[in-house]
Symmetry: C2
Subunit: 147 residues, 2 copies
Amino acid sequence: MSAGEDIPEAYAAPIAALAEEMARHGRARAAPVREVMALLGDRWTTLLLIVLSIGPWRHAALRRAVARLSAEQKISQRMLTLKLRALERDGFVLRSISGDVPPRVAYALTPLGEGLAGQARGVVDWVNAQAEAIHAARAVFDAAEGD
Amino acid sequence: MSAGEDIPEAYAAPIAALAEEMARHGRARAAPVREVMALLGDRWTTLLLIVLSIGPWRHAALRRAVARLSAEQKISQRMLTLKLRALERDGFVLRSISGDVPPRVAYALTPLGEGLAGQARGVVDWVNAQAEAIHAARAVFDAAEGD
DNA sequence: CAGCATCCTCGGCGATACTG
DNA sequence: CAGTATCGCCGAGGATGCTG
């Protein structure tokens, strides 16, 4: 039952608090960080959310818009469908179909999804704003190791 | 040179603006979203940043603290070193050594790193706050597909 | 046009053993 | 104790072809 064996005394409390906060939701295994990673920790979802925050999209157009923002690299339609499904499942995206064949599908953010998109934008904008500092640090580091 | 062929007229402008904003830093290939993903889009970095925001850590203790917060699953020391190096390279983490053998290494966030950790906390906290809504939506979705 | 099934590639990550 | 080297696994993700 020993809590955090070699964790410094002073850090035990905040760590325990975090651990409890993370265990509160879900059944033990589902730490929020994990959920965030499962949500945004992949190659496309963040970008997808940002594009979706512009407005509702049809599948094909969405694919092209994403390509424009990812150095012209296209997301495979398999992945697009997969990621959209995941977002739909968690209540971030609403999928509406009109017409049977050919199907006419539209994707739009729900209010919840707009909240998540806002968070994503926040992080991206922050990184964007710090880009110079980051690249400067990187240059220093790379120069130092190669001497 | 046709910009975004089948992208809806009304969306062309915001997409172009985003594209330009993303191309501003780095040399074309480095879209901020990409950088964010390369930074936070892996299994450990976000969690690492949050733990580091508590204070400076020694390597071994940090490993144990991370384990506490990830459902007791340990990060391999190889990955810990790798991720810390990446964060150090970009100026988010400062690594200080005292003593040769055995080495005594301490890791701490730089001011820049604290900014990034704050962003990470923001997203995690938001997801945490919306956990109920997310799980509810997920339950509805799962129930609907299995009928 | 949107989606699913299939097959395959590739790199993130873990396990282990070894150095200073 | 911190770091590196080597090996091997596994799953995210790409390509293609077929259906409604």
